[in-house]
């Protein structure tokens, strides 16, 4: 067997494939070989341009770099593999020797079952392609590094050619390709058309009539530059650039997946706008979004920028396995990083080595591990509004000052408390108190369930005789430490009312005898909150985890929580006495756990609690499960066959003495009795601290003040809106190759690293996202600048130089102008990644000035316009079509930033919403609420992506749904109506003037007389319609919320509305000409 090959359809084919018979060259092939040798006289082939695309598309699927899933031992992705000895004297390729190269025989084989690629694979080679491969073998089968993996050249020379056409270096490259393609450039488009094009391309808005006129009359040398400078300096430019970036960043105002609730991520969008307003260098723009949280002394804005990494969907669907989706989110970040910055499709390598590009699974998981080191949950809370962690509470200067002030107050109150405790007066008062032979019961007891008395489902709570605790009878009474105890099923809770309602500044303690039946990963003793994963565990909980007592206070698990755990487990099958006490500090050091009266040694699991723990509610704002529960917890594991006795809760931090006493004494014994001799066994220190805690007014007062100082600060923190961002864990999470990409199939462990085919990770950088960002923005990085300039070229010219902007790998297209791409990229880097500089070059070029109507012969020669010998008639983006109508009608509200808005169209989306009233209807489209599962229908109709994943290109299509939107959508009808009213007033009813003005504003050019005539006829026809049906006129004028027309003749106004709407539907209103 030489090399075995599997057919595309999935069945294996083995065997020595080349019988002598198939070596007989069919005559047809001889002919082909002759032609092929004729071609060979031309310049040598380029591997990257001529051969790699064929090998990659037709062969790599089975003979590519995907070592793991390799269907054949024969590989074609490197020369070493391709020319290897396959045994028995067979070679896939013998350079320069067609006769000895099996590849040659196999691609020309007449026998279907032996021919490559297999006929049923859909990958057949054309004769041209076969000839190319033959010629390549004859030329020695040279290989070359894939173009996009080659370092960015240090410098690129622009072609020097005498030219009257070129305006800058960019044009020199383009003109060079005109020569080689034998095409000539299109004529310059009119000044109006250039202005319209550049205004939309840079700001997404049309030029105003005064702007058109100013430009037309500006005869200065710098007329064009002046316009570009004006546009680049405008806020509308920042909005336009942001709009484009939102697709890349898969921005959405909702969480996606099934429930798709709204989320508050627009502060990140506003950060993007601000970055473009400041013309932040692209390098910094990228690095901040990737790793702003890791910048030294990161500012709030820098952390906010990292929300970029969290804009993926978040699942809110009780029942999923959270780890599965945590892994999914890490994958999303990795894929977004790959597409947006590297132009590489990482997805393939998630399940197997990439079939086409040199990306292995190890590369994939090494890269993805950079994005895994945050405390996040795979499931977002249904029963709380807590923002998924890690989250940034967004503050402002004033709030920062208040927070600082309140923190100082807390520190002062804490010091005051210490002072009071240490003061000689306290000691004196203590002595006096002792002499008074105090008798003391258990102050602050909130609940005491002895489990001894049961009436049906009711259990007496000694503290609240009128409010019994409730437990179904399936939880059985069994003998306890004192009297009866309760044995829990694990599925049935005991609910205790009116107790344990503590916010995080509130100290409290609990005491209980427990007899676990076994050691399990989780067993819930008591808790308060909406449940486990579905509520992000918000609340507090006391669990046994593998038998270890564990106490937690949680806003959103795992990123905003405090948890301490005993180092040792308590025994199963025996009674143990547990006490947990907490001081209200929201810090792990404020928690103590006592086993049988003695403090347990604890470890801190989490110590980052900064937000409230008590706001359990459903999305419909219904409060849920807010009572204290014992023995069971919603969608968590209960205390299965565990027993409990003598549960008590206190609304204060109890002292060590009390903890000991709770273990040693029957619960109904008074804590301190008379006479004093009974207290002889007490340590004097214990008694003193107990005195301070419960009987000495000055300390009690100081404690209360400390608590209210904490409350004050906590309420401010609770009021701050938060946004999901990145916050690196102290230690990286162990990362593994996941077999088949499955979350639970861990393979080999990997460490953070960049793909092996790309430059090495810099030695002097930390192995985290910050290091990754530095690696990415290295001035010589082969991909970052190329990918960026290519995307912006696409934004300006409509199509990119590499027409697959999301794929710079071997399956992507080669650049139409490789030297230009490199020159632009190098120039961009050399100019400090300055976007203004980059865009200015493009829009001021002669290339950009061309008309969309090219030279006829050239158009025929280059129908796809690969040479850029004319401008492409680009359809305006969805946002621009709507913004254009708003802008010309004067309805556009040009506020910048802020919460998303709901224009009319949200009422017609899949999940209809009530539209805003007022300005929300008229904001620029980038502010329209983006719901992943029911995106704004107009955006979808005009080809905006769904924003489920990073998207670098919109595919303009034309469907019959589009005319319906512009003809019938209330946004457009209203704009036409308002515009009509303005023009009628302005021109005092002169129809021709109205038509000319509307035409001019909507298309940026004046109509010619024929056009005016046609529109005038339409005007008259519509007027007749409305004269015949006057009620229709009034109905039409009521569309939209804008004030109803005051124009004297509604029928004339209605007719104008229809005419203006028709102009909105004109080709030139929708397409850049």
């Amino acid at each position: 067997m030489i090399f075995s090959i599997q057919g595309y359809a999935g069945q294996w084919r083995y065997g020595c494939l080349l019988s002598m018979k198939s070596r007989i060259v069919p005559s047809l092939i001889l002919v082909n070989l002759m032609t092929s040798s004729l071609i060979a006289e031309k310049a040598p082939l380029s591997f990257n341009e001529d051969i790699r695309p064929i090998l990659s598309d037709r062969c790599f699927r089975c003979h590519g770099p995907g070592a793991e899933n390799q269907r054949s031992e024969f590989r074609l992705d490197t020369r070493e593999h391709a020319t290897a000895d396959l045994g028995d004297g067979f070679f896939g390729i013998v350079p320069g020797n067609l006769e000895e190269s099996d590849l040659h025989w196999r691609i020309w084989d007449e026998e279907e079952e032996d021919r490559m690629p297999p006929p049923d694979s859909n990958l057949a080679l054309s004769d041209e392609e076969r000839k190319l491969l033959d010629r390549w073998i004859e030329e020695g089968a040279p290989y070359d590094t894939h173009w996009s993996f080659k370092p960015l050249p240090k410098s690129v020379d622009a072609p020097s050619r005498e030219s009257t056409w070129a305006r800058n270096e960019l044009d020199q490259f383009i003109e060079e390709s005109f020569a080689s393609q034998g095409v000539v450039p299109a004529e310059e488009s009119s000044r109006e058309k250039w202005l319209r094009r550049v205004s939309f391309d840079l700001t997404g808005l049309p030029p105003t009539v005064p702007e058109i006129e100013a430009f037309l009359t500006d005869e200065s040398e710098q007329a064009f530059e002046k316009v570009v400078d004006r546009l680049l300096a405008s806020d509308a430019y920042a909005e336009r650039m942001t709009s484009e970036w939102l697709d890349v960043a898969r921005y959405s105002d909702s969480n996606g997946y099934q429930r798709d609730h709204e989320r508050r991520v627009w502060p990140w969008r506003d950060w993007v706008i601000q970055s473009f307003q400041e013309n932040m260098p692209y390098e910094e723009f990228v690095a901040t979004q990737l790793a702003g949280d890791l910048f030294p002394d990161a500012t709030q804005d820098q952390v906010l920028a990292t929300a970029f990494n969290r804009l993926h969907g978040h699942l809110m669907e009780g029942g999923i396995v959270p780890e599965e989706y945590r892994v999914e989110y890490v994958a999303d970040r990795t894929h977004t990083f790959g597409s947006a910055f590297l132009g590489l499709t990482m997805e393939c390598a998630r399940c197997h080595d990439h079939k086409y590009d040199p990306l292995t699974m190890e590369d994939y998981y090494s890269l993805s591990s950079f994005f895994a080191n945050i405390e996040e949950a795979g499931l977002i809370a249904y029963f709380s509004f807590a923002v998924p962690t890690p989250a940034l509470a967004i503050s402002d200067e004033k709030t920062d000052k208040t927070l600082e002030k309140t923190q100082k107050k807390i520190d002062a109150k804490a010091a005051e408390l210490k002072g009071v405790e240490a003061a000689p007066q306290a000691k004196a008062a203590f002595e006096k108190w002792l002499v008074s032979k105090p008798r003391l019961d258990w102050p602050g007891r909130e609940a005491w369930i002895s489990f001894d008395e049961r009436e049906g489902e009711n259990f007496a709570n000694a503290v609240a005789p009128d409010l019994p605790a409730i437990s179904p009878e399936i939880n059985k009474l069994v003998p306890g430490v004192y009297g009866n105890a309760l044995q829990f099923t694990g599925d049935d809770k005991m609910e205790v009312f009116d107790a344990g309602h503590f916010s995080r500044e509130h100290p409290f303690s609990a005491s209980v005898w427990v007899r676990p039946n076994q050691h399990a990963p989780r067993e819930s003793i008591f808790s308060r909150g909406g449940g486990a994963d579905d509520a992000a565990s918000m609340g507090y909980e006391f669990m046994l985890m593998d038998g270890k007592p564990t106490a937690s206070w949680i806003h959103f698990w795992p990123g905003n929580a405090m948890r301490v755990r005993a180092k040792e487990p308590i025994p199963a099958g025996e009674w143990s006495h547990l006490v947990v006490s907490y001081d209200g500090s929201a810090k792990a050091y404020g928690v103590k756990i006592f086993l049988n009266g003695e403090p347990m040694e604890l470890e801190t699991v989490k110590d980052h609690l900064t937000k409230e723990i008590t706001s359990w509610q459903t999305p419909g704002r219904q409060r849920v499960r807010e009572h204290l529960v014992l023995g069971e917890r919603y969608r968590d594991r209960g205390f299965v066959k565990g027993r409990m006795d003598e549960f008590q809760m206190f609304d204060r931090e109890i002292s060590e003495l009390e903890a000991r006493k709770l273990y040693h004494m029957k619960p109904d014994s008074p804590l301190l009795g008379t006479p004093l001799e009974e207290m002889a066994d007490l340590e004097p220190g214990d008694l003193y601290s107990h005195f301070l805690a419960t009987a000495y007014l000055p300390t009690m007062k100081a404690r209360a003040e400390l608590q209210s100082a904490r409350a004050e600060r906590n309420r401010i923190m609770d009021g701050l809106e938060a946004i999901s961002v990145m916050r690196e864990t102290e230690d990286p999470r162990p990362a593994y190759i996941l077999n088949r990409g499955a979350y639970d199939a861990r393979g080999e462990e990997v460490t953070a690293n960049t793909p092996s085919a790309l430059p090495a990770f810099p030695e002097d950088q930390p192995r985290n996202r910050l290091g990754l960002a530095r690696w990415l923005t290295d001035p010589n990085h082969p991909l970052t600048a190329r990918v960026a300039v290519n995307r912006y070229w696409q934004m300006i010219f409509g199509v990119a130089l590499v027409r697959t902007p999301e794929d710079f790998g071997s399956q992507g297209s080669n650049p139409t102008h490789p030297e230009l791409l490199d020159w632009l990229a190098r120039d961009f880097v050399n100019h400090g990644w300055d976007l203004h500089h980059l865009l200015r070059q493009m829009v001021l070029s002669a290339t950009y000035r061309q008309s969309t109507f090219g030279d006829l012969a050239s158009t025929e020669k280059d129908p796809e316009n690969l040479s850029f010998c004319r401008s492409n008639p680009n359809r305006l983006a969805a946002e621009m079509i709507r913004d254009n109508a708003l802008a010309v009608s004067g309805l556009l509200d040009d506020d910048i930033g802020g919460p998303p808005v709901k224009p009319y169209e949200v009422a017609a989306s899949f999940k209809p919403m009530e539209p805003d009233e007022g300005e929300g209807l008229y904001r620029r489209s980038l502010y329209t609420l983006w719901k992943r599962n029911s995106p704004a229908p107009m955006m979808v109709a005009f080809d905006a992506p769904k924003r489920d994943i990073c998207s670098l290109k919109r595919e303009p299509t034309a469907s019959p749904l589009q005319p319906l939107v512009i003809l019938n959508g209330p946004q457009f009808v209203e704009a036409a109506r308002v515009f009509g009213e303005k023009l009628l007033a302005k021109h005092r009813g002169d129809r021709t003037a109205v038509i000319e003005d509307a035409f001019h504003q909507l298309t940026s050019r004046k109509p010619d007389p024929e056009e005016v005539e046609i529109l005038g006829n339409l005007y008259e026809a519509q007027r007749q319609e409305f004269d015949a049906n006057p009620a229709d006129a009034n109905a039409l004028l009521k569309v939209g919320y804008a004030p109803i027309s005051l124009y004297e003749n509604p029928r004339e106004h209605a007719a104008a509305t229809v005419v203006i709407n028709a102009i909105m539907n004109m080709n030139e209103s929708l397409i850049e000409r």
Partner: protein
């Protein structure tokens, strides 16, 4: 500079639309095969991806009655008396085999088995089992082809429905209808090729528009939802005060204007737009016409049941699906919602059966009486099944059931499937598959086969990869073919 290989990004503006059409030797009629005819894009797409089918198919169109939420297989079709015998007893570990459960019941301390409260009987010559909740379906027993051994990896609704619709649990892939629209185009130039009908009253697990999304295929392959409202399609109706005549005049003048502009400067983009506007105008008539059931006979209406008069009910949507099928719409997706029986499973099964039983059976009979059943494939099923054990509290008569991906039942009828046939066997506990499991990918492969498409050969190149509906899996289940 050469023409790179097969990447599908050719400029739409390279040649005059007419010269393009002439080159392909087809006029507008031929081009209109492209679904939702897209004059701009049609030039780039060269019409449907396939010219005809790979081989003669037995079905020309599909009506997919999707039962969202996960119908309880053992309370409807997959009769398991053993569950009744062991009602209340613990699910044996030997059956569960440590397989993962959803986060909703995984922490339960016990997993008591729950038998069905419904009576089961065999019907038809095939002897298919039906629960008493499905009296109407029994009458089409011998038309139905059951798969009792469907399975999926998804254990929750979002991922589960996404898997059934697109062959992947993760959002972003094209759905079945989009693949067909891309591959076959539409024989009707006035209606979209992929139409989605959703319930007017939406209760239960939410639907999302992604379930009929085109993923990475061009947006025009998105399913078009017909809404049971005034505007069946987005902004279908003229604004208040604009009559049909008035609109006709606008379109005419716009056309005149564009033709004038073309006369000055030949321009394929403009020519395309003229056609685009004509088609929009035609759709304004064809869509209301298809939704108007006033011409249906009393007998037909009666067949579907009382609900049929109420737009947006399952019955009304089934009838509308038949009307769309008559107009050669190749893929109609009807959603029913509500099978998610976590608690009160008996009540859930009873009420959802009532809502779907009669109309489902009616659709089959109606298609048959019109001679359309032979080439119309009807599919009935959800995203997964339900557990044999009780979620929550079990009593003698009541219980809930959690999601169960390891086996569930769907049925098909017409379009060349094997009538009166039941495929696959589940174990006595209705927990695992004993023989002949059919994975979602196999189901998709079979569905495409019925249409004459080789699922391995309908591909779309995206991000450097040739994608297909069945990913790299799927086998045609030959036994399901007549």
């Amino acid at each position: 500079m050469k023409n790179p290989l097969c990447t599908g990004y050719e400029s739409p503006f390279g040649m005059s639309r007419r010269s393009f059409l002439n080159q392909l030797g087809m006029g507008l009629g031929g081009l209109a095969l492209g679904s939702m005819v897209n004059p701009l894009k049609a030039v780039t797409d060269r019409g449907p991806a396939l010219s005809g089918t790979h081989f003669p198919g037995t079905a020309k169109r599909i009506i997919y009655l999707f039962q969202s939420g996960g119908p309880s297989q053992m309370d409807l079709f997959d009769y398991k008396p053993r569950l009744n015998q062991e009602h209340g007893e613990e699910l044996p570990d030997s059956v569960r085999r440590g397989q993962r459960l959803t986060g909703m019941s995984t922490s339960q301390a016990s997993f008591p088995l729950a038998g069905t409260p419904f009576e089961f009987k065999q019907h038809g010559e095939s002897g298919a089992w039906f629960s008493e909740t499905l009296p109407h379906m029994t009458s089409i027993a011998d038309k139905m082809c059951f798969v009792k051994t469907m399975y999926t990896e998804a254990i929750n609704h979002g991922p589960g429905v996404t898997m059934m619709m697109s062959g992947s649990q993760i959002p972003g892939r094209p759905t079945v209808g989009s693949w067909l629209s891309y591959g076959l185009g539409s024989p009707n130039e006035n209606l979209p090729s992929y139409i989605v009908l959703t319930p007017k009253v939406q209760k239960g697990q939410p639907l999302t528009s992604r379930y009929w999304g085109s993923g990475f295929l061009p947006g025009r392959h998105d399913g078009v939802r017909f809404r049971p409202e005034k505007d069946a399609v987005l902004y279908l109706n003229n604004p208040d005060g604009v009559s049909r005549l008035s609109r006709r005049k606008t379109i005419d003048h716009l056309k005149e204007l564009h033709e004038y502009q073309v006369s000055k400067q030949s321009d394929p983009v403009l020519e395309s737009q003229i056609e685009q506007y004509e088609m929009a105008f035609r759709m304004q008539t064809s869509v209301p016409e298809v939704s108007d059931i006033r011409g249906e006979s009393k007998a037909t209406l009666k067949l579907y049941g009382d609900d049929v008069a109420e737009p947006g009910t399952f019955a009304a949507n089934c009838l509308l699906a038949r009307r769309l099928a008559e107009r050669e719409v190749p893929f109609v997706q009807v959603f029913h919602m509500g099978w998610d029986a976590h608690s009160d499973c008996p009540g859930n099964v009873r009420s959802n059966s009532e809502k779907t039983d009669q109309a489902s059976a009616a659709l089959i009979k109606d298609l048959e009486s019109r001679g359309m059943l032979d080439d119309t494939l009807v599919i009935w099923g959800g995203e997964f099944g339900r557990t044999n054990y009780c979620q929550g509290k079990i009593t003698e008569t009541n219980f809930g059931r959690d999601h169960h991906p390891r086996c569930f039942t769907i049925w098909m009828a017409g379009g060349g499937v094997n009538p009166g046939y039941t495929h696959g066997v589940t174990d006595d506990y209705c927990y695992n598959i004993e023989a002949d499991g059919v994975h979602v990918h196999d189901f998709h492969a079979t569905m495409m086969h019925l249409l004459g498409i080789d699922h391995e050969r309908l591909t779309y190149k995206y991000q450097g990869r040739h994608f297909r509906l069945t990913d790299v899996h799927g086998h045609v289940v030959k036994e399901l073919l007549a």
